[in-house]
């Protein structure tokens, strides 16, 4: 079944929000809305982080956003990815530079995201090279890409051969909730892809092939308890579709890009930001992912996380693959802004789920 896209990218709509500087102005009450919230750095200063600064622990995850090209156009996408984003994709030269860095430094995990990373022509070669280096590779697969074209049907077996950890978004076990965010037909295609992954051994006990799901709210509310959501997803997906997975990561929607557009369009921006602030959890600050991750963009720039990347907030100091210096990166100040409240609300949020 083909997917009926939910929306168009902000870029193709020529929306003002496709300008990252404009988004930052909105978040700081200088455009569209005059709603201003306490500075995130001040909030964490009051929570006991000296001078309101955040520093890395150790860089353990080399996260690469290899491009904005995607077969889906989800309503909440923080990357503003879609089928129209054909230009912004990582070149072979930048992949080779990443490989060089991964050879030189002891960074154990490579986390590949997009867009749909599998659409990048260098994807399979790169993953195989990372595996030769002994790296743990994670692929953030949107599921439907597996059934989108015959040439991707073998991905589950190929993932298994290379022992890639597969992490996939599925915002709900109900078709209505999932399709309302990701496009009509996405749920059915996702279930087919999950069944193919299960057939290849993913999510099955004893295979060692890890298949994790990402839950994010399909609206203006925060995720509930991760363990409880995981239990219910497991029960419902097994019962209705005979599908299995390992862990569920609950992730909060960040007030940036297309989710910011959704918030502003519906008049929910102020109340959502207030909800994030009211739910600020000092105990979540220490576990945020920017402390252990470095994020690389398709054009080789370095960021503290994928969200900072989408706001074009580059790391402090030397900020390109060409100047990669692990020691300098591990002693940098992390760039903070108002969207960071999204990672510290409730039980906290990261690419690996709740943190507190």
């Amino acid at each position: 079944m083909s997917i009926h896209q939910k929306t168009k990218s902000l870029a193709s709509r020529h929306s003002e929000l496709s300008d990252t500087f404009f988004q930052l102005k909105v978040l700081n009450g200088k455009e569209v809305t005059d709603a201003r919230f306490p500075a995130f750095s001040e909030t964490i200063r009051q929570a006991g982080f000296p001078d309101g600064r955040l520093r890395p622990t150790r860089i353990e995850i080399f996260q690469m956003n290899v491009g904005k090209l995607c077969n889906q156009t989800c309503a909440h996408c923080h990357v503003d990815a879609g089928p129209d984003r054909k230009k912004e994709n990582m070149s072979r030269a930048h992949f080779e530079k990443c490989l060089d860095i991964l050879t030189r430094y002891d960074i154990p995990k490579v986390d590949i995201t997009g867009g749909a990373p599998e659409l990048n022509p260098h994807f399979r070669w790169f993953v195989e090279e990372c595996r030769k280096l002994g790296k743990h590779v994670m692929d953030r697969c949107n599921l439907t890409v597996i059934v989108s074209n015959k040439k991707y049907h073998d991905l589950p077996e190929w993932f298994a051969e290379n022992k890639v950890e597969v992490i996939s978004s599925l915002p709900h076990y109900s078709a209505l909730r999932t399709d309302s965010q990701r496009g009509d037909g996405v749920f059915d295609d996702s279930i087919k892809a999950m069944q193919m992954l299960n057939a290849a051994g993913y999510g099955k006990e004893g295979t060692g092939l890890v298949f994790n799901l990402v839950y994010n709210p399909t609206g203006t509310f925060l995720p509930g308890n991760q363990a409880s959501l995981e239990a219910e997803f497991k029960r419902q997906l097994k019962r209705k579709h005979n599908v299995e997975f390992n862990n569920l990561y609950a992730i909060t929607n960040m007030p940036i890009s297309r989710f910011l557009d959704y918030l502003l369009e519906g008049g929910h921006y102020e109340s959502y930001m207030q909800t994030l602030l009211d739910s600020f959890n000092p105990g979540a600050v220490g576990g945020v992912m920017c402390r252990s991750t470095i994020s690389v963009s398709w054009d080789g720039y370095l960021y503290d996380c994928d969200f900072n990347q989408m706001l074009d907030l580059k790391v402090a100091g030397k900020n390109h693959l060409e100047d990669f210096d692990l020691n300098a990166l591990e002693s940098r100040d992390i760039v903070l802004n108002q969207h960071c409240y999204g990672c510290t609300a409730g039980a906290g949020s990261s690419c690996g789920g709740q943190v507190a």
Partner: protein
């Protein structure tokens, strides 16, 4: 009264203020309330769905808003939430209809 309507969604945010005029009782109520909704023999989601159903029975608009949000956050979907409301509605309807046995008894007593 300054307002021209009885219910204002903004008033829900003032719920915690009920302690201003009777703090010991309010403190006990909120502590107990928090305990009730913790995961126990029932999951947090099951409790939220029960609360949503009861909210419709007592027709409390604050509770309906609050527990719709809570149900969504805890992973319930539209189908489950509507089923919960049907359970509440069925009990309300049934509790009226079951009294018809009294009407039937009385009618039989009075008629040939």
């Amino acid at each position: 009264m300054s307002k021209k309507h009885y219910f204002d969604p903004e008033d829900l945010k003032k719920f915690g203020n009920i302690g201003e005029w009777q703090k010991p009782m309010a403190d006990k109520f909120f502590a107990w309330y928090g305990e009730v909704f913790k995961e126990g023999a029932l999951t947090e989601r099951e409790k939220a769905l029960i609360a949503l159903a009861v909210a419709h029975t007592v027709q409390c608009p604050y509770c309906i808003d609050a527990y719709t949000t809570d149900c969504l956050g805890k992973g319930a979907d539209e189908e489950q939430m509507m089923e919960a409301v049907h359970v509440a509605a069925a009990i309300r309807a049934g509790s009226s209809l079951v009294f018809s046995t009294q009407m039937m008894n009385h009618t039989k007593d009075m008629t040939m």
